[in-house]
């Protein structure tokens, strides 16, 4: 009998483990694969991997089928990229490819991906041909013709040059950039005076030609040179020109190569730049694929998570490949089940192609991600410049126009250089306003009214003119509150700073669900009443607020000074800008079919505060705690009246506190954490009284059995009273 029993157990165990293995193999838990290809031994490859892996980790944590990354090293060599592409397409289970890093490796691999039908997204290759006539290639970075066109517009319409010179590399990168720049220049009234081009072999000679022409030309003339070249050659050319006497009147402008980490690194090879950062690099303009300062809250969170995981600052490449991974996963999530690998790859590609409208965009870190007909991302291209050897956000940015204007207004804006158009994209000139807040005092929170008082300086630093009268504090108690008169103003050439002092009451969304373990966020939000994102972008003035990359460490001492609210401590202070969005047609029939989005740049300052729990308990709950302890003694005494009195007192005393709390925190429609504690106390009181009543009903009988029962009733109370208390408290505290 016993042997049979064991055999039965063994068979059941074996069967169930076999089933578990089998179901694991074919169940939803089977991983899906994506591939990445790039220069994996270098920094750029590392940055690609970091960005992608960060996103995959986040996705895999959410459960579902795990996504695994297959990494391939192409060493930035086109011939190797081809081999890798074939390997990925033919031998791997990868549904899509992320990469390659350079335009030349991507272009080498592109025909293979097209032939074998595997979608690819690059976050770094900018050559136009990559996506043209290839439905399988997408990218999360802008292309060269957009960059070239934007730079020509920037030179003509923002920097106000009538003429420009060009030096371009004859490779794909340089040629496409130069072509786009020249073509655009032709239409917008920008003359190209000189153009020089080079390949690796004749670079030095061409640089000499260029220098002698410029020197003959009058080196002190106001001039700008566009470098359609990679950072190595560009840096060499800039240093050489400056050393040979081309003065500061000649400015330089370049494409994304100028914003790469290599650009500043190369300058670092020259002692002048090392001793005095900016000696050569200052005043050089550049496009950049991404700028944290003008990105929204998502980018801020990304950076935080990235820093935590990798203990280093994220490179722009990581951001763009994080976005690329996000797009791929979004497309994979929409896959239909039970398809072959080939069908799945096709579906992933089709799903990516479907991202054609702003409304359908995937919300990425660098922007909302959606594609044009070639598979190129539709987004604005930030422009920056170097100051003291550091990259700075340009005072004006061209932001993709997100709403349709009436034609007359549109034309007037174009004539006034407020709007530009290239390659079918409309962009508005947005003013960048550096904004800072310096708190003087936060000393009052009215919990019953959900308001708090704040006293702070606020400043705006900007180029040109900015209508700061129409700032709207979204959570000000007085909706008509305005900035008043500035307390300080400074006008430097081309740069204005205006500072105001604000002392006002602000509304706050207090969340008491966890009261008294609650953490509250005291916010100050503002945006412009009229100027949308394509006119105005706030940038956190980290330098002005002396924040180290807007991290709060340096604020700790300061916060102790301005935050004067008893029983609370500051947990975190955060400044960021985000975009407030509304896809409204404004009721206008001509906009019903248009892609319409109204976006405002919103500046946010948030102070997270935390209640000192121990002092709250000591001050508020101590009497109740004493009564609870007293309640326990009721199981040790026999007098019914006293027992009942303890229970009743417990209810009365607790309800007193409960009532006081309710009057303190009026207008709350939900049950807060401490109320559960009060309910627990009521329960304990009722428990005391029930036990007392049962005891009382039996205490007249003197038989042995009854006496035994009475003892047990008391014992029951002594055991279950603390059990109810601790279990209840535990449940309340640990409840989500």
């Amino acid at each position: 009998m016993k042997a049979k029993y064991w055999i039965f157990i063994l068979v059941v165990t074996l069967l169930s483990s076999t089933f578990a293995w089998w179901s694991g193999l074919f169940s939803e838990e089977e991983p899906l694969y994506i591939a990445v290809s790039g220069p994996m031994t270098g920094n750029n490859g590392k940055a690609m991997l970091q960005g992608i892996q960060l996103y995959l980790d986040q996705i895999n944590q959410q459960g579902g089928r795990p996504i695994k990354l297959l990494s391939f090293d192409d060493q930035n060599r086109p011939e190797l990229a081809k081999e890798v592409a074939i390997k990925i397409a033919k031998q791997s289970q990868a549904l899509a490819v992320l990469g390659h890093y350079t335009s030349s490796t991507s272009l080498a691999a592109a025909p293979i991906y097209q032939e074998y039908g595997i979608p690819a997204i690059s976050g770094s290759a900018t050559a136009d041909e990559l996506t043209k006539d290839n439905d399988w290639y997408f990218r999360t970075i802008f292309n060269n013709s957009d960059q070239g066109a934007l730079l020509a517009n920037y030179v003509r319409k923002i920097l106000n040059y009538h003429e420009a010179d060009i030096l371009f590399d004859e490779d794909v990168y340089g040629k496409t950039l130069a072509e786009a720049f020249i073509q655009t220049a032709e239409f917008i009234g920008l003359k190209i005076r000189h153009r020089w081009h080079f390949d690796q072999a004749n670079f030095k000679n061409r640089l000499e030609d260029m220098t002698s022409t410029l020197l003959q030309d009058s080196p002190s003339r106001k001039n700008i040179i566009f470098f359609a070249a990679h950072s190595t050659e560009a840096v060499e050319a800039i240093v050489s020109l400056r050393r040979q006497g081309i003065g500061a009147n000649t400015k330089f402008i370049g494409a994304d190569a100028f914003s790469s980490s290599n650009f500043l690194k190369k300058f670092g090879n020259y002692p002048e730049e090392r001793t005095q950062p900016g000696y050569y690099s200052d005043g050089t303009y550049t496009t950049t694929p991404f700028v944290f300062e003008i990105a929204d809250e998502k980018a801020k969170n990304f950076r935080k998570v990235f820093l935590k995981k990798y203990q280093e600052e994220p490179m722009i490449t990581s951001v763009l490949y994080y976005d690329a991974a996000m797009l791929i996963i979004d497309a994979i999530k929409k896959l239909e089940p039970m398809a072959t690998l080939e069908e799945k790859r096709q579906q992933v590609k089709d799903n990516l192609s479907q991202l054609s409208r702003r409304e359908d965009a995937v919300k990425g870190i660098s922007s909302n991600l959606f594609f044009d007909k070639n598979g190129d991302i539709l987004k604005s291209i930030p422009i920056g410049f170097y100051e003291k050897g550091l990259p700075i956000v340009g005072g004006y940015q061209f932001e993709l126009l997100s709403s349709v204007q009436n034609p007359d207004e549109l034309l007037q804006n174009v004539l006034n250089n407020q709007i530009i158009e290239y390659n079918g994209k409309f962009l508005n000139r947005a003013r960048v306003v550096y904004t800072g807040i310096d708190f003087n005092e936060i000393n009052e929170i009215h919990f019953s009214k959900s308001i708090y008082s704040a006293d702070f300086f606020i400043w705006f630093r900007f180029k040109g003119d900015f209508d700061d009268d129409n700032i709207e504090f979204l959570n000000a108690l007085n909706p008509d509150m305005n900035l008043g008169k500035p307390v300080a103003e400074q006008y430097l050439p081309g740069l204005t700073t205006r500072t105001y002092r604000i002392k006002a009451l602000f509304k706050v969304d207090l969340d008491f669900h966890d009261y008294p373990l609650d953490k509250q966020v005291l916010p100050i939000y503002f945006r412009h009443k009229e100027l949308t994102k394509d006119n105005l972008i706030y940038v956190v003035d980290a330098q002005g607020m002396k924040l180290s990359q807007f991290e709060p460490q340096s604020l700790e001492v300061k916060t102790r000074e301005f935050f004067k609210l008893g029983g609370w401590g500051v947990n975190n202070i955060s400044f960021f800008q985000n975009y407030y969005t509304n896809d409204s047609t404004l009721g206008m029939p001509n906009l019903f079919d248009e892609q319409q989005r109204i976006e405002y740049s919103q500046f946010n300052a948030t102070i997270s505060i935390e209640r000192y729990v121990s002092s709250f308990i000591l001050k508020t709950l101590l009497p109740v705690i004493f009564l609870i302890v007293l309640g326990y003694f009721s199981f040790f005494i026999t007098a019914f009246a006293q027992k009942l009195a303890i229970g009743t007192n417990l209810i009365l005393a607790t309800s007193l506190f409960h009532l006081k709390l309710s009057s303190d925190l009026s207008n709350i429609g939900y049950i807060i954490l401490i109320e559960y504690f009060f309910y627990l106390v009521y329960l304990l009181a009722i428990f005391i009284m029930i036990v007392a009543l049962v005891y009382h009903l039996n205490e007249d009988k003197e038989d042995e059995k009854t006496q035994k029962i009475l003892k047990r009733i008391n014992l029951f109370g002594r055991i279950f009273y603390p059990v109810i208390l601790f279990a209840g408290t535990g449940a309340i505290v640990s409840s989500p």
């Binding site: 239409f187 009234g189 096709q346 034609p407 034309l411 158009e421 079919d593």
Partner: protein, 548 residues
């Protein structure tokens, strides 16, 4: 010739207007359209107008030219990319040393659909028949370069036998011209030069419809449908991939667009195959399927503004240059017209022979440059536009032209601080005003070319004596250059001469403001391979195929 010109203008206006007036139609994204849809084994096209006749000597509408080009062969054809003249019925041709005699050798394997051979006599007979006044051929003027053709057509004083065309043998035809005409091989591609089946055409019309092209007509329901089938006897029948073509007469472009979306049509766009509704362009741009099917193709029309160059202050080239350089053509196209036309700096539209290459490093033409414009105006005596006399900007009445005029007015005010008054007229009055301007005028015009050679743009429109010359220009240097280019056969020299002519017209003298070269949108299903569209029609379906 004037009638031709007027017709082209009105046709173009009609096309533009029909695009503007379409109602908004909501475009829903069709996720599965691309993957599920397939071709039906034959090509389905829409024709925007009724087909009146298919007689190559009598046709003039775009839709008629479209069908005739599939049914009949020309002596020559154009390469669809370079627009260079290539052989079709003629295998090769020779020109005499004085440039007045052209001899064409014909293919010997071409037959009419009833089996009879196509010969040089068919060519001669067709040209003699088409030039006869009683034939009333619309395009007879295209034959005027042939010796005595004009006199025969207009005066009927000469016998038809004196016409400069003859068959040397069954497969050799010789043309004698009035004067050296370097672009003659281009002219011989036109339907008016096509051989006709003389054995089935009697004085009262066709007895039997015989053709010689890659397709033959099998069904024709008037105002409704035409069905063409591959001609098995066509000399390159094995290369014709599409077995059947169905042309539906669909006069409404929004209906055509709906049919295209439902996969009931394979191509829409251009003047012939129903214009893509302008109101749908924004939706097409964001539709993941349709935006990949969108194509653009040049239409060989140049939209331009002319100056009445005899009227002060427009008699001063500096004033004209200032005005022309203050017009931002790209903004006009992108912002106001919301079209895909190409900004024009010169008059002849690339890539036709003799047009200035816009990618050439050494630029020719008048470019938008508000800074130079201001300087030129100041140099002409009107700094900041002060004391500039009243100017009139006139156009033939249409909302579309008015928008352009308004934009130009705004730009001139913005960049030069000069005021212009806009006046719109009906076409007849408009033409009369242009003939004898009494005030300084800037006027709107469009030129649509008949054949892809700069001669048809420059000589034809601006020659002071032989051209239409709306601007009343009398530039002898220009006349000398275009006259020389007409007579010389050497293509390299001709290109240089036309480049020089463009430089005089648009840059040195700035007698006109070229605004833009028309570019028309098309929607083409992905299974139509090898698709192309010629700037002035006449594309050959025999070069296309259907592949899923």
């Amino acid at each position: 010739m004037y009638f031709n010109y007027i017709l082209l203008i009105s046709l173009l206006t009609a096309v533009m207007m029909s695009g503007c007036e379409q109602q908004n139609h909501e475009e829903k994204q069709s996720k599965t359209q691309a993957t599920e849809a397939r071709h039906v084994g034959y090509l389905r096209l829409a024709l925007s107008d009724n087909v009146r006749t298919l007689d190559p000597g009598l046709i003039y509408k775009n839709v008629e030219i479209e069908v005739v080009e599939q049914l009949f062969l020309g002596l020559t054809d154009f390469d669809p990319k370079s627009y260079e003249v290539v052989p079709e019925l003629a295998t090769h041709w020779q020109v005499s040393s004085d440039g007045t005699v052209y001899t064409y050798k014909l293919r010997q394997d071409v037959k009419w659909t009833d089996g009879l051979p196509v010969t040089a006599h068919d060519v001669v007979w067709a040209i003699q028949r088409n030039i006869a006044k009683k034939t009333d051929s619309f395009y007879a003027f295209m034959l005027y370069v042939i010796k005595n053709a004009k006199a025969i057509h207009q005066e009927e004083s000469l016998p038809i036998s004196s016409l400069g065309v003859r068959a040397i043998d069954d497969y050799t035809v010789e043309f004698t011209l009035e004067q050296p005409t370097s672009y003659f091989p281009a002219l011989t591609s036109f339907w008016i030069y096509h051989p006709l089946p003389r054995h089935v055409i009697k004085s009262d019309g066709w007895v039997n419809f015989q053709t010689n092209g890659s397709y033959q007509l099998v069904e024709w329901k008037k105002n409704q449908l035409l069905i063409l089938k591959k001609n098995p006897d066509y000399y390159e029948a094995d290369k014709v991939k599409i077995p059947e073509v169905h042309y539906y007469i669909v006069p409404d472009s929004s209906l055509g667009f709906a049919m295209y979306k439902k996969n009931e049509l394979d191509i829409i766009g251009g003047q012939t195959y129903l214009p893509v509704p302008q109101s749908e362009m924004s939706n097409i741009k964001s539709n993941p399927v349709l935006r990949k099917e969108k194509r653009f193709n040049p239409q060989f029309c140049t939209e331009w503004y002319g100056f009445s160059v005899q009227q002060p202050p427009l008699d001063n080239p500096l004033v004209r240059k200032a005005i022309a350089a203050a017009i931002d053509k790209k903004t006009l196209i992108d912002i106001v017209l919301k079209a895909n036309h190409l900004p024009a700096m010169t008059f002849t539209q690339p890539p036709v022979f003799g047009a200035v290459d816009p990618k050439a490093t050494k630029k020719v033409g008048i470019f938008f440059d508000p800074i130079d414009a201001k300087a030129w105006l100041a140099k002409a005596g009107y700094p900041e536009g002060k004391n500039f006399p009243q100017l009139f900007l006139v156009h033939n009445g249409s909302e579309f032209h008015h928008e352009t005029a308004k934009t130009v007015k705004t730009m001139l005010k913005h960049y030069l601080n000069i005021n212009v008054e806009i006046r719109a007229f009906d076409f007849e009055r408009y033409i009369n005003i242009l003939k004898q301007p009494t005030t300084p005028l800037i006027f709107r015009m469009v030129w649509c070319a008949n054949y892809p050679d700069a001669h048809d743009w420059l000589h034809h429109v601006f020659h002071p004596d032989k051209g239409i010359n709306w601007i009343g220009w009398n530039n002898r240097e220009f006349a000398k250059v275009v006259d020389k280019a007409e007579r010389i056969y050497d293509p390299v020299v001709r290109r240089k001469l036309y480049r020089h002519a463009e430089k005089i017209l648009t840059e040195k003298e700035t007698a006109i403001i070229p605004l833009y070269f028309l570019n028309t949108p098309f929607l083409v299903k992905p299974w139509v391979k090898g698709w192309y569209h010629k700037g002035f029609g006449g594309q050959h379906i025999r070069h296309w195929s259907l592949e899923n």
